[in-house]
């Protein structure tokens, strides 16, 4: 046993590191889910006293920070690590040791964040976790308002996880550029790999402003600098710009890996190639570029000039165009197919509907005047949970069901998978559909309680009831994974009759991935193999 543990700790195998990333991500997902459930418990009834205000503020800060930096980002890193080399016919990532370094520094950052629960000291004075919100607006984070060390734990853990993510991004780019197998031109690369390339490039552009902002904040807090210290002439709005120059691309950095999963799963379960592949690649690059010029739509209410507001409004709406193209192309892929409703596809179908709504509320939020009303309200909370839960998490679960057999050699149970899907759908809609309306009725986000009589009680109660269903759904997933690891049906190398290279090797793949490195002639090498009478390369 100790030797197996040792193997995992010292591993530089991209597959093991990928599994470590995803397992860690799922662990933090469970933790953040518990934090969210506690918040929903407190908000289920008006004037509730289940969670005191300072505890609630820590819950919401830790939930947001955890979900973005310790769940979304490592899930991306895990998928990219596990699948990129397999999909491009390579034996490992370009820099295996950097890969291991990235994972362990990320894990250390995550542990540092949670260590604050026993070590830090926050706004309320006594030692515990960060409580300044996940975007930590200045000057609340200055020492005048945030004494003690909890905010420092927040800063340092984000810098550390950022180093890990940057390492992953560099590694993914280097791998894709230099490790493709023979015949794997950029044009033939699976869409998944294309999306990973774009996400990794975005990480390299988006993370430096965040790291710079965090370092400036540390300078403010400990070396008497005044970047964001308004009492000494610093600028509170400057922090918001630094944060959202990172924060908006970040939303797409989180979301594109979900798109990547959907772009592999939907064609396979519709039995058709991806409709409009070049348009999908173009739309992805378009999203990557546009999303770096729209950050101030998070700041429509800070008092920018009318012309800035109009620019950021129209630019933000424009992101909807490539995003729409993606939805249309997935639809075009399904149209005329023979759609199989296995669990991975169910999650992708749920994603398509929910992401359609998330996209439309996103367009609404780009309408600056409407945003003045609903920004920082529960409407925004509902919107981004539609994006990140209804969109991202659904596709990631789809991906989990799709690639779990490859990684473990065991099938997950379809019955439990369907329970997982439907319970999550019901719970998700109970919780987040209603919260849009709470925002429209003037309920601001991040309040630990509210008085009755403002029209919020029923909506909040329904939202909290939804959590029970969501938790039951996730419990099905956990049980499914445990059950399958113990006695799952053997998967075989290609359980879904799929077309990309990872299905050409055994499940789980051997350490060297491929005994003989493959050679490809089209974007669907396994289709070519299975249909010698009508191969894809004939149409290239």
């Amino acid at each position: 046993m100790p030797s197996r543990l040792h193997e995992w700790i010292v591993t530089v195998d991209h597959k093991r590191l990928g599994i470590l990333y995803i397992a860690t991500s799922l662990f933090f997902f469970a933790v953040a889910g518990v934090l969210a459930a506690l918040m929903r418990l407190q908000l289920a009834f008006p004037n509730a006293t289940f969670v005191p205000p300072e505890v609630f503020n820590r819950l919401m800060t830790m939930h947001g920070t955890t979900m973005v930096f310790l769940v979304g980002m490592p899930f991306f890193a895990g998928l990219a690590n596990y699948l990129t080399p397999l999909m491009i016919g390579s034996r490992d990532m370009a820099f295996p040791r950097l890969n291991a370094f990235g994972y362990w520094i990320f894990l250390f950052g995550g542990m540092l964040l949670y260590f604050s629960y026993v070590a830090g000291e926050g706004l309320a004075g006594h030692g515990t976790a960060p409580d300044v919100g996940w975007f930590a607006y200045a000057p609340l984070t200055e020492r005048a308002f945030s004494r003690g060390a909890s905010t420092d734990y927040w800063i340092l853990s984000i810098i550390l996880t950022g180093i890990g993510t940057t390492a992953s991004a560099i590694n993914v780019i280097a791998t894709i550029v230099s490790m493709r197998c023979k015949g794997m031109t950029l044009a033939r690369m699976p869409l998944f790999v294309w999306l990973m390339l774009v996400v990794s490039s975005m990480v390299l552009f988006a993370l430096p402003p965040l790291t710079a902002g965090q370092v400036m904040l540390l300078l403010d807090r400990y070396l008497g600098a005044h970047f964001f210290d308004t009492q000494a002439g610093g600028s509170a709005v400057l922090w918001q710009h630094f944060f959202w120059v990172f924060g908006h691309p970040e939303v797409y950095i989180l979301m594109l890996p979900g798109f990547a999963c959907a772009s592999e799963i939907i064609p396979v379960f519709s039995r058709k190639p991806m409709f409009g592949r070049p348009a999908m690649i173009g739309a992805t690059i378009g999203i990557g570029m546009l999303s770096s010029g729209v950050w101030a739509h998070h700041m429509f209410s800070v008092g920018m000039t009318a012309s800035s507001n109009i620019y950021f409004a129209v630019a933000s709406m424009a992101v909807g165009i490539p995003t729409g193209i993606k939805i249309f192309n997935w639809l075009g892929t399904m149209y005329g197919g023979k759609i199989r409703f296995d669990t991975p596809m169910l999650f992708c179908i749920g994603f398509l509907f929910q992401f359609l709504i998330a996209g439309l509320t996103g367009i609404m939020l780009a309408v600056a005047p409407f945003d003045w009303q609903v920004t920082d309200s529960y409407f925004v909370v509902a919107h981004f949970h539609y994006v990140l839960l209804g969109g991202l998490l659904f596709t990631l679960f789809g991906g989990l069901y799709y690639w779990f057999p490859k990684a473990t050699g065991k099938m997950l149970s379809e019955t439990l998978g369907k329970w997982h899907f439907w319970l999550l759908v019901i719970g998700f809609h109970l919780t987040f559909d209603t919260l849009h309306f709470a925002g429209i009725l003037g309920m601001p986000r991040r309040i630990y309680t509210y008085a009755p009589g403002r029209g919020w009680e029923t909506l909040n109660l329904i939202a909290s009831i939804g959590v029970i269903f969501q938790a039951a759904g996730v419990a099905c997933l956990v049980w499914n994974i445990i059950r399958s690891l113990r006695k799952g049906k053997p998967a075989g190398s290609d359980p879904w009759d799929a077309w990309t290279l990872e299905w050409a090797t055994a499940s789980p793949p051997p350490e060297y991935n491929f005994a003989v490195l493959p050679e490809v002639r089209s974007s669907r090498p396994l289709w070519d193999l299975k249909h010698p009478e009508d191969p894809d390369w004939r149409y290239e």
Partner: protein, 339 residues
Amino acid sequence: MNCSLRIAGALFATAEFSFGQNVHSVANIFRPQATPADSVYNVSMLMLAICAAIFVVVGGLLTFTIVRFRRRKADDPREPAQVYGSNRIEIAWTVIPVLIVLVLGMATARAVVEVQDKRMPADALKVTVIGHQWWWEFRYPDLGIVTANELHVPLSTAAKPAVAALRLESADVAHSFWVPQLAGKTDVIPGITNNMWIDPRQAGVFLGNCAEYCGMQHANMLIRIIVEPPAEFERWAAEQKLDAAVDPHLAEARGMFLSLNCINCHTVSGTEAKGTFGPDLSHLMSRTTLGSGMIPNTQENLRAWIKDPQAIKRGNLMPNLQLNSRELDEVAKYLSSLK
């Protein structure tokens, strides 16, 4: 659960407590009662119509596709026709969204300019709104009035339009001023001055919240805007301009108040209490709530607040002054006289 929180729970009333005022307790952004909220409402309606149409078309296509192209048992086992794409369709579903963005972008631009670049009339009522952790200070520079948490503004009618021009400043961290039925929110940020305006056309009390997380009691940084006919507003303003009431029967209570630490943070006009850290108390009894809209301003609540503000609004910046019961009675009695 600790005892102080239970006390706080017992003191809570609903958002509707009103002292005879008409309270618009449900702040629906689709029930606007002032021009800036109208501008938002109008562009929102166009936006909702467009989004609903997109939802019906795309959602309908998705549903149709899933139902029509599901694999059936009777299907022959061969793969469906392998279609790789169509440039003509790609162009169609790129151009249509571009046109939608253009239309919605122009409507947005118009609404932004309508609200943001509005010229303030010369007779606009000027109010400086100052956000504090976790209460609001309202100063009327032209009228010489300072009050807290409850903003009085005159009713605007077609015959006599009345605009209140708000200048937003913060004494500490970032806050945001949001009364949904009157206008969208504007952030209240230290170091910069923001502006917004309202011209409410419906009398009564409009409720709002601080909308930017500002620390422990962000949830209880509530806003009440009291919209009254001009005559009533004038009467209120005239009363507020006077120095605090001096009741000769309460000389002892007054002396007690002025001898305690209260005066370091609070102002009572016409006395040596000139503190500026907490809300101005000169006309405390003209306000309907305590703790920034948290509890009704009743005798019992006032006494409970002075006794231990932390038990009611945990973490707020007024400490428990550990007054004995005689001091409590006298201070409460004095504050109750500040009409």
